[in-house]
Amino acid sequence: MNHYPSSIRKVINNLNKLPGIGLKTAERLAMHLLSAPESEVLELSRNIGELKKTIRLCSQCFALTDSDLCRICSNPSRDNALICVVENQADMVAVEKSGAFTGVYHILQGLLSPMDNVGPDDIRIKELLTKIEKGNVREVVIATGTNVEGEATASYISDCLNRFTVNITRIASGVPMGGELKYVDQVTLKKAMEARHAL
């Protein structure tokens, strides 16, 4: 490292902080940037700078967006009366990729965690309740993960929503496609068996 001039060392250090980038890769990337055309490097640095300036949270669903409403919330063909509750943006993207959902989302920006004292006020639960209070929502699908925090959050939300007339559903747990039963954990298998359906 000390063999590099300090301006290169700085870039190596910056890149090294990114997830999955070790020192060796950081060195290689830095050397690549050095030899790339200036316009490309400037574009990259400009785009990174813009990222922080323009990206904000959608005022409806709290997804990342560069305008007031995200692409899903501003799409008139999406069903506004059907809300899917997820932990974060990545989970929203995963559900979206499945192509199975035509409603809108509500991104909690976290999960309840008793051990870390992350309570209802620390994530976007109030905003969800406000939406439901206004009426017009037919169903809330709770699609948080199946770990303890995900289940606890689902339980809390469903307790809070009980006083409304809205339908509350939880995504099912089951056997993954292309999987062999013997590799599926026993909790999932139990849930899959309980949620079996007629053919």
Binding site: P19, S113, P114, M115, V148, A152, A154, S155, T188
Partner: protein, 257 residues
């Protein structure tokens, strides 16, 4: 290289880098134990659905060569406690107990009685045969006594008058000395809490009976609240800080409809 296996209850898990998990367990044979579960985050097949909070497991570990953490080799699930996981209140109580155990116990010191206590309380919380609040009272009282901090409810800490013989319905409790005081003795004590004789009798009864019998004791709402408030204060006083999950639990209780 040697391996060992033991029943264990998962108390805490945290990420270690992009691939691994570090889990703290209360084991039957080796007390509190922190192990590393390699590739637990990277591969869904490595420990599928096993390394969750409060899971009762049977684990197999490889002891470290010199220093450092034992490596988790294999785990099988005995009870995932679906009844706790699907309920925010139960999850909060279980989190509080697990955090207490984690905060208080030293690594590697066998704690068989605390293991069985936690197991019993999680089982009962999961099945719901005993109320959450009642269980928390039982857990905290037993936990204190196994940790050598059992509150003295049987007689005045100063003049040794038996509790039954102390006149009036109001008793006092000195947190620092860990015992009740009669009215006369309380005036010379700088800081003491008020306790009703009713709750003191109930707590004493739980101390003196086995777990199964203790679980049958019925409390009314007022004494449940009084008992919990007292025990939580006493524990926070002796730990020197408020466990995060206790803050969460108290917040939740004040918000729930």
């Amino acid at each position: 290289m040697s391996t060992f296996s033991t029943p264990a209850i998962l108390l805490r898990r945290s990420s270690y880098g992009d691939y691994d998990l570090i889990v703290t367990l209360l084991t039957l044979n080796k007390g509190k134990l922190t192990v590393i579960a390699k590739n637990a985050k990277k591969s869904r097949k490595r420990f599928p659905g096993l390394l969750e909070l409060f899971s009762v497991l049977h684990i197999e570990c490889r002891t470290p060569r010199a220093r450092g953490m034992a490596v988790l080799q294999d785990a099988t699930l005995e009870n995932p406690f679906s009844g706790i996981r699907g309920n925010i209140m139960k999850t909060s109580y279980a989190s509080y107990w697990a955090e207490l155990v984690n905060l208080w116990l030293e690594e590697g010191k066998e704690q068989t009685r605390i293991y069985h206590l936690l197991r019993y309380c999680l089982d009962s919380l999961d099945s719901g045969i005993i109320g959450n609040e009642e269980l928390s009272i039982i857990f905290q009282l037993r936990f204190l006594s196994f940790s050598g901090l059992s509150p003295n409810f049987s007689e005045c800490n100063k003049c040794h008058t038996k509790m039954d013989e102390i006149k009036g319905n109001h008793l006092f409790f000195e947190l620092a000395k860990g015992g009740i005081l009669c009215k006369g003795c309380s005036s010379s004590s700088l800081s003491s809490l008020n306790l009703t004789k009713g709750i003191v009798k109930q707590l004493l009864w739980i101390q003196e009976n086995d777990l199964k019998t203790a679980g049958r004791l019925k409390f009314n709402q007022a004494s449940l609240r009084e008992g919990l408030k007292f025990l939580e204060k006493f524990i926070v006083f002796h730990i020197g800080k408020e466990p995060k999950s206790l803050k969460f639990l108290r917040n939740l209780c004040s918000q729930m409809p």
